[in-house]
Each structure stands twice: as structure tokens, then as C-alpha cells.
Assembly symmetry: C2
Homo-oligomer: 257 residues x 2
């Protein structure tokens, strides 16, 4: 089973290394960016190409690890006949392949990938969809080599999962960025918050986040919320975030009381 | 050094248990709620009262562990002369004591407390403020018995710290609640997100959240953001959160590029 990885960004890097790590034959890395292509290909020990015209057409599976909006433009340039092509997007349906491939699907690894940080792929859930049961089984078998959690999921459910991932990863991470900026402006180290960040996560992993909710909004402590709004007078965008999230906490917890 | 704890909620419970754990003499728990008062007093092995008139007036330090908006009303009822009284609030200045006490201050433990979850107090940073250097030293000495991280901080900086804690704890936790609700509605288990939650926090603890930012907003992937907005058509409050946070990510990362 020969695999070509298209895209050498965060997802492609971790996918290529994980497949190589369990002995799958990764035969080529294709990336527009020469530097990324060379770096990943040399790490995996395979060929590379920077032009889609130079893609190895003899592989068995082609895994697109590119930005969501790049999927369609790339498919228009690929002419791989009956080869199995999959993307790794959370929110793009597999109908994106309809006009361009006969055998297609999706393998969506639910994780936040950064090139600079190693990951244990065996702990990452991967969600599979394909146009036929046979293709689905090929993808399940391939992914089971690198992780124990492989699950079939429809495009629609995968999109809900991706949106949820944006909430719990992208947005929580950004709230930490805003806290870091606010603290720096006031000569406070972000490190002071790290024990709190750790405990926040521990609670979410052990209990439901609903029962773990604390703070002024869930207590209805208007006095404190007004103090915080006053501090944010010169940070209108953070103030807006403060207000919509506080309102949502109040609403969610009063509805279900 | 005899201590009275006023309030038997999340903060009071952990404070009383931590002080008792290192051999400090906690002589009384005062709580309006009989059940909480009895439970905590029996756990700590001390007296309890449910009426402020029955407070033990012979102790050395009185620690108010109550909701922020309850501090002033309680102070009006306490007549403790020259005794040292402190609160544990992140956002209330120590000027709240001005009319009611001669010796006062604040010990603010920066953590998310739930009665149901045990904590290792020695890993919690505690921030101190007092009206005199002598009182400050008493509070530092007391807190150093239960944690290695004790730091003097002004009321203003403490309020910034509390606001930052709301961002990284209350709000991130609530985003997980929203994800949990969304997933339940679509027959998906929140457990699927747990490896992602764990990795999100690992990255924040190891790197700056700014460089760890991933996702459609920082990539400028409008196609995906529109798909997510479509899903949230019937969740107007989550949609509003999605929009303000996505805009803030775009703004923060374009400003500093």
C-alpha cells in the first residue's frame, strides 16, 4: 500500500511521520513550498515534488493535507483515474470529490497539529468516510495502524465535530492569548495563570464542563462583572467577548437550573 | 495563630482544609447554611456558627471566603476591633475594609475551586495585599505554610489577574459546555473531544498561546467559517460568540504579523 501525501503543513507532517512510523510506505511528499517538501521528504525518507504534474501516479492512496479552500483547486489539476483520494478536512463533505474521482473519502484526525510539537498519534481519534464500503474498509485498515480510535462518521456529523473543536481549541487558545496580552500590559507574567489552566483542563477531562462552571457570570455577580467591564474600556473587542460569553453563561445555566 | 473561616463554599472549604492540613488552628467555621457549616466544621474538627453574632471574637485572623457582593454586608455586621480581617476576592480592593476594620488585607488564591474536587494547595499561587507591612508579613507567613508561591500584589493588578482568570477558566470552560451541548444534539459524545482538550492545554502550558493558534480564523478560511455559521443558524447566541471570537483572532494575528 503506497501512499502519497499532498501538503507538508502541520497535518501533512504529522500524518506522514505517523504512517512512516508504523511501516506504511510513504512514497512521495507533494508541496508547492520547496522548503517544506524537502524537509518532510528527507525526514520520511521518500521522494518529493513541488508541482502537481510531477505527482507519482503509481501509488494506492493519495492523502490531501491542505487548507480546506485549496482542496477543489487541487482536485481540478489531479487526474488520478480510479485511484483512492481522500482529504483530511473536518468541514468539507466528501461530495467535493464527486466530479473529480471515482474512489474517494475522508480521514479526519481530530487534533491540533503544529509542526514544532511532537504528538502521539495513537491517542488521536480519526473519523472516516468513503464513497463505498470497500474504500471505507481500506481507510479504516490504514488508520488502525496508527491509532486505536477509528470511527465512521458522516460529513454532517464531522462538520459538527469540527465546529466543536474550534470552540474547545481555537477559541480557548485565543482567550489565553488575550489574557497573555492583558497581563503583559500590566507587568504580569502569563506563567501565573498556568496552574489555573492546568486545573481547568483536569476538571473538564474528569467531569462535565457544565458542572465545573465557576466565576462571576454563573454566580450572577454583577458588581465584579462591572469592574471587569471598566478595566476593558480601552479593549473594545475583548469587552465584546466578555459580554457575549458572560451572557451565554448566564443563559445556559439559568435555562437548565 | 487562631483562624476563623467565614463562608463554607468552594473557596472556604479548600482554604480551611489546607490550613488544617499544615497544622494551623482553624477554630471556627461561620456559614449561614447549616449544612455547609456542619459539614466543613466536622471535616476540619472545629466549632461552627450560622449567625455572625456567634462569631468567636478571640481568634487572630478572620478569612472571608464569601461571594464578592456579600463582603460589604458582612463587614457591616462584624465588630472585631483591631483583629486582622482579610477577604479572598480577586476583584475587590482592600479599601472595602476602610470603614470597618483597622487591620485588613487580602489573600487571593488563583485557582478554580469546586467542593467536589480535591486540590493540591501547594501548587496554587496566592496573592497578598494588606494595609500595613506588619499585616502583610503575617499573611505571607500564614500562606507560605500552605503554598510555595506567595506574592504581594496591588488591588489593581489583582483585578487584572482575576479578569484574566475569567478568560482562561470561566470562558474556556463555558466553550466546552457549548461544544458538549452541540455534540449531544447531534448524537456525538463529548469524550471524543477530550484528547484535543488535553493537547490544547499541553500546548498552552509549553508554548505561548499566540504561536499555538490554529484553525480557520487564523488561516482566514472563509469557506469553513461560513459552513460553521450555517450550522449555528438556530443557535444565535453561539453564532454571536463564534463571530466575535473569530474576528478577534483575525484582528490579533493580523496586527502582530
Amino acid at each position: 500500500m503506497d501512499v502519497v501525501i499532498i501538503g507538508a503543513g502541520n497535518v501533512g507532517t504529522h500524518m506522514a511521520k505517523a504512517l512512516k512510523g508504523v511501516g506504511v510506505s510513504v512514497v512521495q511528499i507533494v508541496s508547492r513550498t520547496m522548503k517544506s517538501a524537502v524537509e518532510l521528504a528527507s525526514e520520511v525518507g521518500c521522494a518529493f515534488a513541488t508541482d502537481l504534474h510531477d505527482i507519482n501516479t503509481n501509488a494506492d492512496i493519495y492523502i490531501l493535507c491542505v487548507t480546506d479552500c485549496a482542496i477543489s483547486p487541487i482536485l481540478r489539476q489531479l487526474h488520478l483515474g480510479k485511484k483512492l483520494i481522500v482529504h483530511t478536512s473536518g468541514s468539507i463533505g466528501i461530495n467535493v470529490f464527486y466530479d473529480y474521482a471515482e474512489n474517494y473519502g475522508c480521514i479526519y484526525p481530530l487534533q491540533t497539529f503544529s509542526k514544532f510539537k511532537d504528538l502521539n498519534y495513537s491517542e488521536i481519534p480519526v473519523f472516516i468516510e468513503a464513497n463505498t464500503e470497500a474504500n471505507q474498509q481500506i481507510l479504516i485498515d490504514l488508520m488502525k495502524k496508527i491509532t486505536s480510535h477509528v470511527q465512521v462518521l458522516s460529513s454532517q456529523q464531522r462538520c459538527i465535530l469540527h465546529l466543536s473543536a474550534v470552540l474547545v481549541n481555537n477559541f480557548t487558545n485565543h482567550l489565553c492569548t488575550l489574557a497573555e496580552i492583558l497581563m503583559k500590559e500590566n507587568q504580569l507574567q502569563f506563567d501565573l495563570l498556568k496552574p489555573l489552566v492546568k486545573e481547568t483542563m483536569d476538571k473538564i477531562l474528569k467531569y462535565s464542563p457544565y458542572i465545573a462552571q465557576t466565576g462571576p457570570a454563573v454566580r450572577g455577580d454583577e458588581l465584579i462583572m462591572q469592574k471587569h467591564r471598566d478595566i476593558l474600556e480601552n479593549h473594545k473587542d475583548v469587552l465584546e467577548i466578555y459580554n457575549v460569553l458572560s451572557e451565554s453563561i448566564t443563559k445556559t445555566h439559568s435555562e437548565e437550573k
